[in-house]
């Protein structure tokens, strides 16, 4: 019997996370393998993945950690970050995330595992939360329309610049930037202007701006120094010259300052971080973007609008989606896809919970501390150069700036070291009296009189000139005035959450989105203070934990993809594309090949590809695809040959957007290299490659990785995303750098880098522990198995549904990669039932629809990921098969062509209260699967009218009466 006694090591936890992450049990894997005709996972992979692209070298990663050990290791990493009181300012401020929001949104999978609200009927909760965010931005900026957030303040300013160029009609190419702007914003604008061919002029708007030479100007309000200037005259003269005015501003400041809309500005941008979102060493945060109604169809990014549903009630949806680059492609002026939904939701809820009075109090307190500090410093003879300010002051201390910053650091306070003679000091929601006293103590030398803060307070007079003091109301909508108690707030959040389908309810089979498990252990460290409360510009020696995390994550991602260097700065997949193409351009320029500006892109590419290429200043040449969805290699070679003098790059997705491993990928890459081009591989489908294929080994020079797909960062309901890029050695020195923080790209030696693509040095740093934990707990074995099971799951679905629907593209042997596309075109023709009807009918079954009509019109693209078990996949397949039977009834004439269970879907509880006159039973409408009897999802609205919503665009909260009227 002794030999059956387990050894101690067998009793230890070991790599206990792998079976938690991978959904199917061994018995399910065996059953599914049988269905797809493979004897083992290895056998399946041999059949699916072309041998010549398989990596010969297995992954070399550390031994996988148990969940507990991963957390204790991360604790040690976090412990190397030191939290100081930040008075640095520069667009990042301490704030208090109300605990009811922290626990019920930021740490709640019901919110963070949701997808972008494409399926409006199952997304009403977060759509309402986003509408609150838009209303808050509209109120505080005084403009008419706001979007549902952008990536960060720097890129929001860059989007504003591109939009202004498109709508200004001046024909000019010069963009003016207020010199008193956050340096990271200026740096992002510089990079972006280069791609577009704009000239950037940085100067003092009062003296250096010539309105008739520019298409637009960015004015900072307050300035980076803290100074608040009256920009009215500048704005008026820009307007007279046909140019637009963009204001970079601060939402909290606008509680006290005359808003940009009332000053005449056309666009306002900034960060909503300080509304309850931790600094997180740079991100993720929601940037805001507001403009005038006349520009609504030119506004970049996602916007939520009010429409009506099939029952005539108000219902929310994403409006104006046609402006998205997936439809405009190479004619787009923006590649923005992702918003920062989770963070915008938090910022909006912060305003809901605080209300106008709470916001005003927080603003007034930060302002008061700044006034007290300025007054005390002046009394002591210091020169405070900011005379009108909100929460930030600049102090002139000739030749003493370094010493004073160091002195404050001894008190665990970080100040802004502007230059040798100037210090910046910023106050925020978290500033305590004791900290202000400590701060002032650093400036008080022997012999200077001392006062209590209250004594100083009594001597103050308001420094903001009367003409810039806010007089208009804000946050007057009931939603910002109803939820003061935590009980009411808790229930409001629960009420909204319960309207939505997220991964905590059922699988989300969205093709190309990789909706896998976002494990709790991976998520836990994100809100640890040592990760959350770090200012991105704090001294590097205080952020050694982060530095270690970045180094390890970069080296693991490099090992997985085969690249030599990784940049973590791009904070979305689209940003990664843009950064990668800019890197390629810089490489050609360094070689004296600046004329190389042609970018080949297959017709099957995601729409962001051509949009990113245009933003990088490249010309798009489209390559054909064959009937199997593969790149037409002859056409590609012909176009590479025809453009060989000017070929810059190929952008190719692998496996293809059609979910197929193309056999010819190595030849394709070789053909591009032979003609002097570089290969950009879109890593959107990396989940089919990890552990099996390294992009660098098949010929890619650059590749972006969607950490929010393959590496477990949750989708957050439509952001945050993280899109780092890996490059081969010859491109490393061109990777993004940073103007404020040193050491982001040491290989560049300060020269070669393309500059900044995002505001923060390492992008969305605070969510990188998620990907770190995933890789650390999975190791080489777990990651490879995850890929194998993802491919098995997709092929299992393809086999099961293939008996009922045509599968559009398959590789040799009839296999797909990690996703499959089912064809509804015939159904549409025969029965008049479209993909949208199927998508909405799936809601009645309790499922989120697969990706609709992309990349092929009238198809559904399904990606199960490795995290779904066979039981859940079967439940989904049964729903799809039963829906096929419902379609057959329409085809045969047994069911009415219009009044049927598909066209009327989804069915709401309201219809139950009316007389039931439909030609099908209530059971069929509401409980088509027996498994729903005990767990039924009730859609809060009937089908949302897209056409109505886009013809009558309303992007602010409707008055409550609108709901009351509709209910009558």
């Amino acid at each position: 019997m002794a030999d059956k006694r387990p050894r101690l090591t067998d009793l230890q936890a070991g790599a206990n996370f792998i079976p938690r992450h991978i959904g199917p049990r061994d018995s399910e894997i065996s059953a599914m393998l049988k269905t797809v005709g493979a004897s083992s996972l290895d056998d399946l992979i041999a059949k699916v993945v072309p041998k010549k692209i398989r990596s010969e070298r297995p992954l070399d990663l550390p031994v996988p950690l148990s969940e507990r050990n991963a957390l204790s290791d991360l604790r040690k990493v976090a412990g190397r970050n030191r939290i100081y009181t930040s008075m640095i300012g520069m667009g990042y401020y301490g704030c208090v995330t109300p605990k009811v929001i922290l626990r019920n949104i930021l740490e709640n999978p019901g919110w963070y595992t949701a997808y972008t609200p494409y399926q409006a009927e199952v997304s009403q909760g977060r759509l309402e939360a986003l509408l609150n965010f838009q209303q808050m931005v509209v109120d505080l900026t005084g403009l008419e329309l706001a979007s549902a957030s952008l990536l960060d303040e720097g890129t929001a300013a860059a989007e504003a610049m591109a939009m202004a160029h498109r709508v200004s009609k001046t024909g000019r190419d010069v963009f003016f930037v207020d010199a008193d702007t956050h340096p990271q914003t200026v740096a992002v604008l510089e990079t972006r202007a280069r791609g577009f061919g704009f000239e950037l002029k940085v100067g003092d708007p009062a003296t250096d701006l010539k309105p008739d030479e520019v298409f637009a100007a960015l004015l900072s309000y307050p300035g980076s120094s803290g100074q608040v200037r009256d920009h009215r005259k500048t704005i008026a003269s820009l307007k007279a010259a046909g140019a637009l005015s963009i204001m970079a501003t601060d939402l909290l400041a606008l509680a006290m300052l005359t808003p940009p809309g009332e000053l005449g500005a056309d666009i306002a941008v900034g960060s909503a971080q300080r509304f309850g979102v931790p600094m997180g060493y740079g991100g993720p945060h929601a940037a805001f973007f507001a403009t005038r109604d006349e520009f609504k169809r030119a506004m970049p990014g996602r916007v939520i609008g009010v429409s009506v549903d099939a029952e005539g009630r108000p219902a929310l949806r994403m409006a104006l989606q046609t402006r998205e680059q997936h439809i405009r492609r190479e004619k787009a002026t923006s590649n923005i896809c992702t918003a920062q939904v989770l963070l915008a939701v938090i910022a909006g809820m912060f305003a809901v919970y605080q209300g106008p009075k709470g916001i005003a109090k927080i603003a007034a307190r930060a302002h008061r501390f700044a006034e007290i500090a300025a007054h005390a410093l002046r009394k002591w003879g210091y020169e405070v150069t900011t005379d009108a300010f909100f929460d930030t002051i600049t102090v002139r201390v000739p030749a003493r700036a370094y010493a004073l910053v160091a002195k404050a650091r001894e008190q665990r306070i970080n100040l802004r070291h502007v230059d040798a003679d100037h210090i910046g000091i910023s106050f925020d929601e978290t500033t305590r009296r004791s900290e202000v006293e400590k701060l002032l103590g650093c400036f008080r030398t022997n012999g200077l009189a001392g006062w209590s803060l209250d004594q100083i307070d009594e001597e103050l007079s308001e420094c903001i000139p009367a003409g810039l003091q806010r007089t208009s109301d804000y946050l007057t909508h009931p939603v910002f005035n109803m939820y003061r108690s935590e009980t009411r707030m808790l229930r409001y959040l629960r009420h909204l959450q319960s309207k939505d389908i997220a991964l905590d309810r059922s699988m989300i089979p969205l093709g190309s989105c990789t909706m896998k498990l976002n494990a709790t252990t991976e998520m836990i460290p994100v809100t640890w203070p040592e990760f959350a409360n770090m200012h991105p510009f704090c001294p590097l020696e205080q952020a050694q934990g982060y530095q270690q995390l970045f180094e390890e994550l970069e080296s693991w991602l490099a090992e997985i993809t085969g690249f030599d260097a990784v940049s973590l700065q791009p904070n979305a997949g689209s940003q990664g594309e843009y950064a990668g193409l800019m890197t390629i351009r810089a490489f050609h320029e360094a070689n004296g090949d600046s004329h190389r500006d042609v970018c080949l892109i297959p017709s099957s590419a995601h729409g962001t590809n051509p949009a990113s290429a245009v933003m990088a200043g490249l010309k798009v040449v489209v390559v054909k695809c064959d009937d199997h969805g593969n790149v037409d290699v002859d056409d590609l070679k012909a176009k590479a040959e025809a453009n060989k003098e000017n070929l810059a790059a190929l952008m190719v997705t692998y496996p293809s957007t059609h979910g197929v491993f193309e056999e010819a990928i190595k030849d394709i890459c070789q053909a591009i290299h032979d003609h002097g081009g570089q290969v950009y591989l879109d890593g959107a489908n990396l989940n089919a490659l990890v552990g099996l294929v390294r992009p660098a080994e098949i010929g890619a020079d650059v590749c972006h990785m969607n950490l929010h797909k393959t590496f477990c960062i949750p989708h957050g309901g439509g952001g945050p995303g993280v899109g780092p890029i890996g490059v081969k050695a010859h491109l490393a020195r061109f990777l993004p750098g940073h103007d404020v923080v040193e050491g982001v790209n040491p290989a560049a030696h300060g020269l070669a880098t393309i500059g900044q693509v995002s505001a923060a040095p390492w992008g969305s740093a605070s969510i990188l522990p998620i990907s770190w934990a995933y890789i650390a707990m999975m190791g080489a074995e777990g990651l490879t198995r995850a890929t194998q099971v993802a491919i098995l799951n997709a092929n299992y679905i393809a086999r099961r549904l293939g008996e009922h629907f045509p599968i559009v593209y398959t590789g040799p042997g009839g296999y797909v990669a990690h996703e499959c596309i089912i064809d509804m075109r015939e159904v549409k023709e025969n029965a008049g039932i479209g993909v949208e009807d199927v998508a909405k009918r799936l809601v009645d079954y309790g499922f989120h629809a697969p990706t609709m009509s992309w990349p092929v019109p009238e198809t559904l693209m399904i990606e199960p990921t490795e995290s779904e078990c066979q039981q859940e996949i079967d439940r989904f397949c049964e729903a799809m098969i039963q829906i096929r039977a419902e379609i057959a009834e329409v085809e045969s004439g047994k069911a009415d062509k219009v009044n049927n269970v598909l066209r009327n879907a989804p069915h709401t509880h309201r219809a139950l209260l009316e007389d039931w006159t439909r030609p099908y039973s209530r059971e069929q409408a509401y409980f088509p699967l027996h498994t729903q009897r005990d767990d039924k999802y009730w859609p809060p609205v009937a089908r949302v009218d897209n056409v109505y919503g886009d013809r009558h665009v309303v992007c602010t909260c409707p008055p409550l009466e609108a709901y009351a009227e509709a209910a009558e």
């Binding site: 104006l320 046609t322 013809r951």
Partner: protein, 125 residues
């Protein structure tokens, strides 16, 4: 009634004297689906063949409308700003886009007649 000509970009053009009325074809309107927005050029703008003259948006697509011939915009169908659905109701009637004063009538010869356009659409599948 004047004869209609058609372009490969799915615009129709009807000439009356030296003024041509331009719109998008029934086929194009069906392909786009319900229009939600039409952006028309400024009166007085001159266009050459292939220039972007208007923009149309439906809930599933945004696309440019190109000038099939050269000329000066003398009138636009401003009703479409508020009622883009007119284009779906009567694309070749009340849903017209703009009127151009032709600068070179011979350009019309390069366009298709109705039969040729029909064949062109079918060939495109």
């Amino acid at each position: 009634m004047a004869t209609m000509k058609f372009s490969k970009e799915h615009e129709w053009i009807r000439v009356d004297g030296d003024v041509a009325t331009i719109g998008i074809t029934q086929h194009a309107a069906e392909q786009l689906g319900d229009l939600v927005f039409v952006e028309l050029p400024d009166v007085g703008k001159t266009v050459a063949p292939g220039d972007e003259a208007a923009v149309v948006e439906s809930v599933k697509a945004a696309s440019e409308v190109y000038a099939p011939v050269s000329g000066e915009v003398v009138e636009v169908n401003s009703v479409l700003a508020d009622e883009p659905g007119k284009v779906n109701e009567a694309p070749e009637g009340d849903g017209w886009f703009m009127k151009l004063k032709l600068s070179d009538a011979s350009e019309l010869d390069g366009l298709m007649d109705e039969a040729a356009y029909k064949a062109f659409v079918e060939e495109q599948g």
